[in-house]
């Protein structure tokens, strides 16, 4: 099993990249490819969990995550129900009978506790109710339509962030104290300080209106994907570059690197085998907050680039008072964040032998 763990990791990773490249080329993701990735990743993960007897840890974290989602669902439900002014208070007042009928249809005439119990019962079955505004459409269907787009954008942006941020951080650290270091770090802190609603229009004006390389809006193919994902990835990339540099510098100065060097290991081996691996840990542990940042940023990006994703639904449903949709979107955003944090913790444990599970 050890050898499988050592050698088997390439398969889910390869399949992941296959999924990314395939969708990036603008094709629909074949269920077989996605399924293959999920199955191999899950298999690999389960082997790892069994091998290191992490079963209880994973179970506990999963239960905690479920509890978190339960509390969030309850709080959001109560918050939305206590907001005065119902979803059907239009500018033109409806006749009272009509309004009563509508409210009865959605169960809004029941006492709050009954509504809550019904909602949570349905939620346990994966039923999020029906939209108030897209009449007759189940929330799950609306979300299922928007979710792939959002996850696609999010994954691309995360990849941009790490593929850009990691090398730049390493370069800055390896040229520590030179003008290159200062320039890169100045660029990074500017990137952290740049609001995306400034970068996005500038990029659109430059790369789309002037140079004509990419499409300025919508989400229909490779030339549509580039601008949103880059703009969304810039801020996290800058954050990663800053953290990578600090982390590499800290590791370079540590005792075990001195030991490795004095053993006579070559510079390359020390850099890649010892420095890089160890400085990756704090950077990886940032993946949770990175995902949170990208989720937040996606609101602005989806609005500016008119991308039909989740964030757009969330904004629209808030202004429309389409509360079931608000609730559903909030839950899904939270689930994404919770899952990202869980995966991050496990990945760190895989890389860092010092992490103890309690």
């Amino acid at each position: 099993m050890k050898s499988f763990l050592k050698r088997g990791a390439w398969l889910p990773v390869l399949l992941f990249w296959a999924c990314v490249v395939w969708t990036f080329l603008g094709y629909d993701l074949p269920p077989a490819l996605l399924g293959a990735f999920l199955v191999t990743a899950l298999l690999y993960f389960s082997f790892y969990v069994v091998e290191n007897s992490l079963g209880w840890f994973v179970l506990r974290r999963t239960l905690e995550a479920l509890f978190t989602i339960f509390v969030i669902a309850s709080l959001t439900f109560l918050l939305l129900r206590t907001i005065p002014g119902g979803p059907f208070d239009e500018e033109k007042a409806l006749p009272p009978e009509v309004k009563a009928n509508i409210e009865a249809k959605y169960g809004l005439d029941q006492p709050l506790l009954t509504q809550y119990v019904i909602y949570m019962g349905n939620l346990a079955h994966g039923d999020l109710g029906e939209s108030y505004k897209y009449v007759g459409r189940p929330i799950t269907e609306i979300i299922a339509d928007a979710f792939p787009t959002s996850i696609q954008l999010g994954v691309y942006a995360l990849l941009v962030a790490y593929l850009l941020g990691l090398p730049l951080g390493v370069i800055a650290a390896s040229r520590h104290g030179t003008w290159m270091d200062s320039a890169l770090m100045m660029a990074a802190i500017s990137g952290v300080s740049l609001p995306s609603f400034l970068v996005a229009p500038l990029f659109v004006i430059l790369f789309s209106f002037t140079l004509g390389w990419f499409e300025p809006a919508l989400w229909e193919g490779p030339s549509f994907y580039v601008l949103p994902m880059v703009v969304l990835g810039i801020r996290p990339a800058a954050g990663i570059a800053r953290l990578t540099r600090a982390s590499v510098l800290e590791v370079i100065r540590s005792d075990f690197i001195r030991t490795a060097k004095s053993k006579g290991l070559s510079e390359r081996v020390v850099l890649f085998k010892h420095v890089f691996r160890n400085s990756l840990i704090p950077v990886l542990s940032l993946a949770g907050p990175m995902v949170a940042g990208i989720l937040t940023g996606s609101f602005i990006i989806e609005l500016i680039f008119a991308i039909p994703g989740l964030a757009k639904h969330m904004i629209q449903s808030v202004t429309n008072r389409d509360y079931p949709l608000v609730l559903g979107a909030t839950l899904l955003f939270s689930v994404m964040l919770v899952v990202a944090n869980l995966i991050t913790d496990l990945l760190i444990a895989m890389i860092d032998p010092r992490v103890k599970f309690s």
Binding site: L194, I205, L303, S334
Partner: protein, 288 residues
């Protein structure tokens, strides 16, 4: 990690940090002196000058209602900075209270308090911000809708940003609590509140100050995000985010409307972030 005389010396040597502190000071002065500095009233319309570009009369041009952009930007500094600083201070107060309570009590109180924070943290900040903002906007305690949206913004931002402060304070309190000097003061019969105030809090001031400095730009950004999404402040409170939201829809034909508020936000955030870096390096110079 104490902010002492050495840190002060290191900070004074850091030209970038000093420069950004100067920029921040200027921004604060602009915000305070807005009525004196702005060439026109921020809501005065010059109907013959609608959507004018840069000119001598209107240095940054005018918007679609013929209002002077420079004046609106100067007043925007007032709103944006006030909102960001105010909410950061509220977050500081709540965070210190909550964090030191959890850290000092320890045990199940600590775990309960921290688990609650974990749950709040599992909602992406902007989603939480939107929910809280919509909630505060709707409960009609304040009749005046403009004022209500401002108060809602203040409450929502404070509500979202205290969490990280509480986490930091708790971690620091846990560390300092075990130090010999705190234990001896406890042994000599000092009350918990006294030990906290006299010995623990002064010793965690450094990292707290750094986080506070980083929190302000993040609040500026969140405020402008909300305003950009149309969930922010209502006129006449035109923050930089509101201006940017007004501007980007016409960015192709009138880019000046979007660029000037965007640059203002960038400049403010950059200065605070650089100052934060400077403070961090001054306290903990090994990472420079």
């Amino acid at each position: 990690m104490i902010f002492d005389q050495d840190s002060w010396k290191r900070l004074k040597k850091n030209k970038v940090a000093l420069g950004s502190a100067a920029v921040i000071l200027i921004l604060i002065l602009i915000a305070v002196l807005a009525p004196v500095l702005s060439p026109y009233p921020f809501d005065a319309q010059y109907l013959d000058q609608i959507l004018a570009s840069f000119s001598r009369r209107h240095l940054l041009g005018t918007d679609n209602l013929g209002r002077d952009m420079l004046s609106r930007l100067i007043y925007g500094a007032r709103i944006s900075m006030a909102v960001a600083v105010f909410t950061a201070v509220v977050a500081l107060v709540i965070g210190i209270f909550y964090g030191s309570l959890a850290g000092w009590m320890g045990g199940w109180v600590d775990s309960l308090m921290m688990r609650s924070i974990d749950i709040l943290d599992s909602i992406p900040a902007l989603v939480l911000l939107i929910l809280v903002k919509v909630f505060f906007d709707s409960i009609g305690v304040i009749g005046n809708p403009e004022l209500r949206s401002l108060v809602g913004m203040l409450l929502a931002l404070s509500f979202v940003s205290w969490v990280s402060m509480a986490r930091l304070v708790r971690a620091q309190v846990l560390q300092v609590k075990q130090m010999a000097y705190v234990e001896s003061s406890r042994a000599l019969g000092a009350s918990a509140a006294r030990s906290l105030a006299k010995h623990v809090l002064p010793n965690i001031a450094g990292p707290v100050m750094v986080l506070l400095t980083y929190m302000i730009p993040s609040n500026i950004l969140f405020e402008s995000f909300l305003s950009f999404l149309g969930l922010g402040l209502q006129p006449p409170y035109a923050s930089w985010g509101v201006l940017a939201n007004d501007g980007w829809r016409t960015m192709r034909t009138y880019p000046h409307l979007m660029i000037s508020p965007g640059v203002a936000i960038f400049l403010a955030m950059l200065s605070f972030n650089l100052l934060g870096d400077g403070l961090r390096d001054a306290i903990d110079p090994k990472m420079k």
